[in-house]
Symmetry: C2
Subunit: 305 residues, 2 copies
């Protein structure tokens, strides 16, 4: 077992998993295959990772999330990794909103309350719909890019997510209308941790008069099915972040489609769904927020009150 006082030497494998998000098995198999990381060993033969190797692992993880492959980058030097990050920066220029610099500063200095006020002002000025499409979508994208480039810490990104949550939940609570039609059940599959997309969908549908019921993230398939059939639900809407494996999403959606009664519609939104429509018969793929409005209109056209 790991020593409590592992500070001077380095971190145990469990601590590195906690720090980097890379599973223990993956860390061991990389060591075997690529020769990195190459941890020291303590008296008991257990792995001890020096801080610099953990830093490099964190860098690698960023590039992995970007779509690069381990064999290309695990063996690379730290300088080469930095170069790759630079290349990624030029390849995907983020269309940041006008006051991006100010907002980034707030995130960096952990000024959550001020950040929330800024978002709230923008919401009041533009209305919920335009706040979503014109501010939140590009802003979230820019935050992701900034994190990728190392310009924004994980803490800054978390702070941003948290404040967007606050603003959106407040807006949804205030929209007033209840009990409309259709009745939409919102959730995500297991292993999908990102709740922002879900919340944006709710913020999109609720003011349009739909009755939204959100179950949050990570509802097992069987429970989605049970909840939909028991609750008089018209539409089941699922959200997928770009990190979600497309294969799992397609597989799960088709299974769910087969198990749900035909009169319940199934919608799938998020980056991971962009080009999957033809693999998803009987399922409405929602490309972006505008398309969500369109899907709602379609449903209503097919179901006159």
């Amino acid at each position: 077992m790991r020593s409590l006082n592992d500070q001077p030497e380095g971190l145990g494998i469990a601590a590195v998993e906690r720090d980097t998000g890379l599973p223990k098995d993956t860390l061991r198999v990389w060591e075997r295959r690529y020769g990195f990381p190459r941890p020291l060993r303590d008296a008991n033969g257990e792995r001890v990772y020096p801080a610099e190797q953990v830093d490099k692992l964190r860098l690698i993880r960023r590039l992995l999330d970007q779509g690069l492959r381990p064999s290309r980058i695990v063996a690379a030097t730290t300088e080469e990794l930095a170069q790759m990050l630079e290349a990624a920066r030029e390849a995907a220029p983020a269309a940041a909103p006008a006051d991006w610099g100010t907002l980034l500063g707030l995130m960096h200095r952990q000024e959550g309350a001020a950040l929330q006020r800024a978002l709230q002002q923008n919401l009041l000025k533009n209305g919920l719909q335009r706040f979503l499409t014109d501010t939140l979508v590009p802003l979230t994208d820019a935050v992701g890019q900034a994190w990728l480039k190392g310009e924004l810490s994980v803490a800054g990104e978390h702070l941003y997510t948290e404040q967007v949550h606050n603003v959106l939940r407040g807006a949804i609570a205030n929209h007033g209308a209840h009990g409309g039609s259709p009745s939409i059940l919102l959730t995500t599959f297991p292993n999908e941790l990102h709740s922002l997309g879900l919340l944006m969908a709710e913020a999109l549908f609720a003011p349009e008069g739909a009755q939204c019921t959100s179950l949050g993230t990570q509802t097992p398939l069987a429970d989605i099915e049970r909840a939909a059939t028991q609750g008089g639900i018209d539409v089941v809407a699922l959200s997928f972040s770009s990190a979600y494996p497309a294969r799992q999403a397609v597989d799960g959606l088709n299974t769910l489609r087969a198990r749900l009664p035909a009169h319940i519609a199934l919608w799938a939104g998020g980056h991971a769904m962009r080009e999957q429509q033809r693999k998803l018969p009987g399922i409405r793929v929602i490309a972006d927020l505008q398309d969500g409005i369109a899907a709602l209109a379609e449903w209503r056209a097919g179901h006159p009150a």
Copy 2:
């Protein structure tokens, strides 16, 4: 790799780890030593845990948390386990709120809006502090119990969590005061998915005049450290659900304590922390919400403005 279509057959070992909080290695070694769980095997020889075994593992997990030892309970039948739980429950009776039956009905029928209204009314009637201690804590406990006993579906539990989120975030946003002291950074370690405890802590501290900055769940240790030292933070407060492995929590906390400057206090709250104080020198373990208030008072006594 795990297929998403594992609902009818059972769950893979990774899914069971996520569901029960029992690490993969522990599941395997129990099977070797005690003969339980005894999962089926798929075509590839990989473990497939039937739902009933997972249910039993959850029961066992609860009893473990109460101090019983694996060798005594892993071999027991489900009935015996239920009996032990019943005995434990009588020893520590959870006082379910008066309108428990009504609320359970709302959860069961997926009536989110009505559930939220009921919670909101209770909040207005009792004030935030008493709403937390007298309603939310026993209610959340009762929800957990009902889920364990199979009286409440996963969807029902998710719905409850979602509505509590809405109510608490609203309450925190409305409390008014800003910029007080101390400045508290709230978050959880990676692998900790439960955000309710975190929100409750924020709802507890914010109205007392503390300046709360929440990063949501799952912040890597290194980023907690960076955020705390950069943001003029006085106190770092971490929340642990009962499902979080105590070992990981203790280890991570001690590591963090060693890395943080001495003038920043470190608080740890949640069920997982109940009896860990002596393993956590220099860290303030917060036993319950009242104790949180006490910790705040202590800090202020030691740091006169």
